[in-house]
Structure formats: C-alpha cells, structure tokens
Symmetry: C2
Subunit: 300 residues, 2 copies
Amino acid sequence: LLALTILGNNSAIPAYGRNPTAQVVQTNDENYLIDCGEGTQLQLSKYSIKRSKINKIFISHLHGDHYFGLIGLISSMGLIGRTNDLHIYAPAPLEQILHLHLQAANTTLPYQLYFHALKEEGEIANDKKISVKAFKVNHRIECFGFLFTEKKNPRKILPERAKAYEIPEAYYGELQKGKDYTTKKGTIISNEDVTEAATDARCYAYCADTIYDETIIPKIKGAHLIYHETTYLKDLEERAAARFHCTTVQAGNIAKLAGVEKLLIGHFSSKYELLDDFLAETKTVFENTELALEGACFKI
Amino acid sequence: LLALTILGNNSAIPAYGRNPTAQVVQTNDENYLIDCGEGTQLQLSKYSIKRSKINKIFISHLHGDHYFGLIGLISSMGLIGRTNDLHIYAPAPLEQILHLHLQAANTTLPYQLYFHALKEEGEIANDKKISVKAFKVNHRIECFGFLFTEKKNPRKILPERAKAYEIPEAYYGELQKGKDYTTKKGTIISNEDVTEAATDARCYAYCADTIYDETIIPKIKGAHLIYHETTYLKDLEERAAARFHCTTVQAGNIAKLAGVEKLLIGHFSSKYELLDDFLAETKTVFENTELALEGACFKI
C-alpha cells in the first residue's frame, strides 16, 4: 500500500547525472511529493508517476535544491488543465515567491492552490489513508522533517464467525472499530472472536537536511523506514557539522538509536562521483541501509 | 567566431524529452545565455558549455518555460565560488523574484549580480566582441527579442605596404579605424592602399515568443541567422494567434521578408511528438530552414 520512490538524491549542485532532492510517497489513491528540486517534473514523467494524483506537496526548507522545481510543476499542472485542489506545506516565505512568479506571467491557475505555512511541530495533513506530522530539524535555515503514518486499517471481520453468532451486518462497522457485540439475550460476544487484528500501521520518516542531532530520535522512533541525509563520508565530520549536514556514520547512529527497520541515505555532496563508500560506511553502524538511488522504489 | 548552441526547444510543458527554451551564443571568450528554462544548468553540463564563461544572461519574458531555470543557475554559480560579475537583462519583475529566492535561503552570492531591467528598444550590452540590442515583440506579456551583432573587425593592415610608405607603427591603430595617412611632405596615403576590409560583421536575431507580426522585420533585416518560434503547424493558425504564437508558414514568411540567410525554428508545442512536419512546412516558404534541435550548434 505504501511505497516510496526516489526522484533525486544529490545535494546543492546537480552532478554526475544525479538530480536534487525529491521523493514520492505512494498509496493506491494518491502520490505525496516530498521536496521538489529543479527538474522534478521531468523526473515524475521519467518514472511514470502521475502528477494528477499529487494533491499534497511537502517542502522541508527553502534551499534551492529542495524546491526550485516547484514553480515549474505548479505551472505545468495549470497548463494541462488541472482542476483539483493542490495543497502545499512549506516554510512561510515560499508563499510570496510563488505569488510573484504567477503574477509575473499573468497566470491564473485553473485550480485552487492552498498554501499552508509550516510553523509548529505536529499533524499538518490527515486524509483517508495517511496522517502527516511535521517535526523540526536543525539546519542552517528553518527546516522540517515529515512523518507519514498509514492510518491503521479497521479490524478485519471473520464473516463465518460473525454469521454463526447471528450478528446483524448493520453492526459490522462497530465490529471493525473493535467493539464487542451483545446479543438480545444479553450474551457478550468478544470482538476478538469475530474479527482479526488489522495489519500494522506503516510509518515513514523523512529527516530532511540536518546536522547530527539526537533530539529527533523520539520523533521518529520505531518508524519502519527512515530517510536520513549523508552529505559527506565519515572523514568529513567537521565539514558536515560546519554546514549543518551529516556523515554516513552519524546517519547510521540515528537509525540505530531510533530503532527503525530500515534506513535510506541520500543528499550526497557533488564532490563524490561514486557512492559505494556511503553504503559501506553506514552499514558498519546500521546494517539494513540502502542508497536512495534515483528511480528506486522502496516498500515502507 | 560566433556560434549558437541550442539547449532547449520546447514550449510550455517539457515533453518527449524536449527541454524548455535556452540557447547560447558563443565566441572564443564568452558564452551569452538567452533564456533559461528549467533544467538549463543540467543542459549546460550535458553539452559541455562552461558556466564560468557566461557573464551575461538575456531573458526574453517571464513565462516560466523561459526563465524557471535561472535561479538554479545563479545559485549554483555561487556554490561553486564564482567571483566574476554576472549581468542579467530581463523584464523588471524578475529582480524582486530573484531577491526573494536568495533571501529565503539566506544566501549571499560570492559574486556581484547586476540586474538590468529591459524597458525600451535599443542597445543593452556592448563589449569587446559583441553588441546586443533588445527589440519588442508582440506576446501575451511584455516580451523582447535580442539582436547579437559581432563587432566589425578593425581593417586589416597590409604590413609590407605600410612599411613601403614608411608609416610609423604608432599610427597603425588609426589605419585600422580607416583613416588615411599624411606624410611629412604632405602626401596623402589612402587607407585602402595600406589596409584591407574587415570580414563582414555577423548578426543573429532571437525573436522570442511572438504572434505573427511583420513590424519586427526592419529590426532583424539582413541578419545572417534568425531564430523564430513555430509553436504550431500551419493548420492551427487561429490557435496560434489566440495564444500570441506563430505557425511554420508564418515564421517562414518573416524570414523571407526580412531577407535573412538562415532560419531556425523551435518552441514546439507539447502536443507534437514528431517534428518533421515543422521543417517540411516551413521550407515550403523559406528553404534554408533548420530545426533548433537540442545540442545542435549553428555557425552564425
């Protein structure tokens, strides 16, 4: 149900064919776009991800490699005649920038654009399938991570059992919520007798750009999948800190301390052509690590 | 000396792997960038065009497919430590947009950015090798074409002849400007006797996005090479006019009436996958036409 597709993994300047940051969380119904570096609309086409299913876009911070592709995507959505609402969650200054771009082109979008300025931590979006929380991370400018949690499926009814107890179908909705059933004679039928547990709610944490900071651990604890930046290899820990970025080993530590299932690493500095060492170094700390390679799709 | 490289030729929405508009006029010393659609910095890398030799950027108008890549290019130039001045010639509203983008990222560029707001027609840039004039074209929003004229080389001195007349070398600069020489005895040595004519000054006209408009003809008359948009094939003349664009046949007409040597066509609508008909239709009116294909380099 929940999958994550990587559209870009490079930091700052595009290099070695690697694009700037963008990712898509996918459900059957919707695509949730996280960050939108320059060229994201082309990457969406390349990997056949439907723009029409993107209704919510989350921008972590206003460094260009995380949002310079947004105005192009918004404009193209208008040109192809989109009518569905589009929601953007981003630091406040982006609103005026988008407004000026549209004004300069004398553009009126054929759809409604809702801008939600990120301020505090907490839930920012909530729909049928997914809840999204924003959490602050420590970067050079205001920056947010995002926690995507699948809504816990309702309990699954065991129809043979429910029929055997003659529970009316009109009550099935209550059973799914976990309620017991009381017969006309007053006998209590335990919910566990006629339903089985929902599958576990899956959870993905996007930790954006950040300096090494253990205070994010309680915010992402127990996530099934996390993405954590590794701009530099471990020998450049000082440079990483000076620029509010992380190394391989640091990302591995965060994953280990947060007790997550799997770690994706990305936001590689343009100084590196080969990425093998990123994976090897991170795995020394946290074994279940993968590179956030472009086009790769991960089950959450 | 003067060449033109195409980096993008598509209109509005990127399609079929075609990128939005960007072109580079190249001399031995400098690259002059014309328009800068999203992804232009990647196209520059792809076609090995040095960013460091770009000192002047000309933006025709503020529709996104002509400038959404500019902020990314400007930022990257800063990140790689550029120190040379950069001059941008564009419609006025772009200045504030660039300013807000830089401010949002808390970026101070390590080089000086000079913004020149386009207002009137006339010469806007003038350096050792090239003069650039802006001219107005008729589009949905304020829009400018650009005329690049190579500076006429100075007259070439014939050293044997000049020595035979005992003309002092200190006077050679005046000879190059076309002046005659008067000997101490008062004899006039005709300039034509000791120099030969410079090669013809080459001229390229970029006509930007425009409705069919014969009033641009005197502005581009006699250019060696022109680029004229052909957003649509000839059967969509009405749609072209409604959107302030042109068809193949209309671009051919402009080239013919302006008496240019060669015509490049581009800005193809995303509705067309194949471009063959664009070339065939335009050639029925103006034979020396070529498609502005990405990566193609034309001698001016």
